[in-house]
Every structure is written in C-alpha cells, then in structure tokens.
C-alpha cells in the first residue's frame, strides 16, 4: 500500500515560488494516485482568499490550479482555522478548516510530511 503524504503549504501566493512548488508536489502525487493531503497553514491560507488579483502584482493566478486538485483526486484539503482567523479570511468550501488539535492529530496520522 502506498504511503500517505501531507504537504503543508505555509507561504502566501505572491511571496515567491513556494506556494506554487508546494502545489506541484501535491498535483504530481495525485497524478500517481498517491494518498496525499494538503494543509494551508500560516500565510499559506492567503492562497485560499477569494477575489485575488494576481495580475496586479504581475503574478500568475494559482487559484485555477487549486481547483484542479479534485480533478487529480486530491480531496483531503485543509486549512488551519487559527491562521484563517488571524488574517480575517474564511475558508472556501474546497478546504476544510481544522483546529490546532485536529492538525496535531492529522500530522500524526500521515506517514510522511513535507513543509514548504
């Protein structure tokens, strides 16, 4: 059986390639049908903000890639509730908000973790 992997994405979408590169790991894993989870934590939750205008900072919009997650069979998408609250954001339906305790349990549950 395949080992499960949790990718923790901690960077805002405009702070460099980190957000995109975390997502690329997830999408590549989905293409191989691996059991992958994605958690947005700290500034990573900014990737979930609605009505982003990536063009205004001459960046590519990542949100279309986020929508591709379910097409790649990635349904375990989570967001840290504390990080969302700190930044005044609301999680979209595609990401399940979790408490710190739930995040602790989840990190224990996954066999491998990559934090970017």
């Amino acid at each position: 059986m395949s080992k499960s992997l949790l990718v923790i994405s901690r960077q805002a979408p405009w702070s460099g390639p980190s957000a995109r590169e975390a997502l690329d790991i997830v999408l590549a894993g989905g293409a191989f049908d691996l059991p992958i989870g994605l958690l947005f934590l700290d500034d990573g939750v900014f990737q979930l903000a609605t009505s982003q205008d990536a063009k205004a900072v001459q960046q590519k919009d990542l949100s279309a890639n986020l929508q591709a997650l379910s097409l790649f069979g990635i349904d375990d998408v989570f967001a840290c509730r504390h990080s969302l609250n700190e930044r005044g954001l609301v999680s979209p339906a595609s990401a399940q908000p979790l408490s710190s305790e739930q995040i602790h349990e989840m990190i224990d549950r996954y066999e491998q973790v990559i934090t970017l």
Binding site: P17, E21, D24, A31, V113, I114, T115
Partner: protein, 130 residues
C-alpha cells in the same frame, strides 16, 4: 533503514550543511539513502558554479564529492532548476543559454522522483529554511 532526503535550501544555508552531515551520518551508521532530491532553492546546492571564500566550507562541492564517492542517486528537480538558472548541458542547449552549472553526478528529473523515493524509503527527511 532506508532514507529519502529532500533538500530545499541553497549551499550557503546552514540547513544544506545539516542535510549533508545527516546524509554522511546515515551512511556511516549502515543505513541506505534511496535518493537525494533537491527542490526549491535546494537546486543551488547542486550548482557547480559556486565559489566559496577560502576560509569557508564549499558545501556544493562537498555534496558533489559525497554523491560521487557513494554513487548515490542525486536528483535535482528540473522545473525548480530551470526557474533558478541551474542548467545542465542538455538544458542549456535546449533553451539556448550560454552557461552550464550542473553536471555529473547530478541528474535533472521531475517531481515523480520525489514521490518515488518517499514511497521506497522508510523515512523521508526534509531539510529547508535557515
């Protein structure tokens, strides 16, 4: 134990040195390294164009020597490397760039190699940040 080692930081970052020391200790302890995978700024740790000051350690060259000596599978993510200007001869030709700064023992390949290594290993150990 079988380790997969992922590195996300450049040769001048202390975490690149820590990853190298970990890898050396793993082999010295009789463990196996199924693959080294350099991603994000980790691709700079494989650059052959780094010139360290004489009184500082040349971690990129130590990585190269370590991988060669133990004939390890050293993979540099191609998408991350292209974005950061770390090119082998083939990619420099393909994109008509004048500089080549990646050569043997490193191989450029895709993220599938990270997943493959993580699946094959007992433990995936990641190094990044400062």
């Amino acid at each position: 134990m079988k380790f997969a080692i992922a590195l996300f930081s450049a040769a001048h970052a202390p975490s690149s040195r820590r990853a190298l020391l970990f890898a050396q200790a793993a082999l010295a302890g009789g463990h196996e390294i199924v693959r080294l995978f350099f991603y994000q700024d980790g691709v700079y740790s494989a650059s052959s164009n780094i010139v360290a000051p004489q009184d500082e350690q040349d971690i990129a060259s130590q990585w190269r020597a370590f991988v060669s000596e133990h004939q390890l599978d050293g993979v540099v993510c191609i998408a991350a490397a292209l974005r950061r200007g770390v090119l082998n001869a083939e990619e420099a030709t393909r994109y008509q760039r004048s500089a080549v700064n990646l050569d043997a023992p490193w191989a450029l390949s895709g993220l599938g190699q990270l997943h493959d290594a993580a699946q094959a290993a007992d433990r995936l150990i990641c190094f990044g940040g400062p």
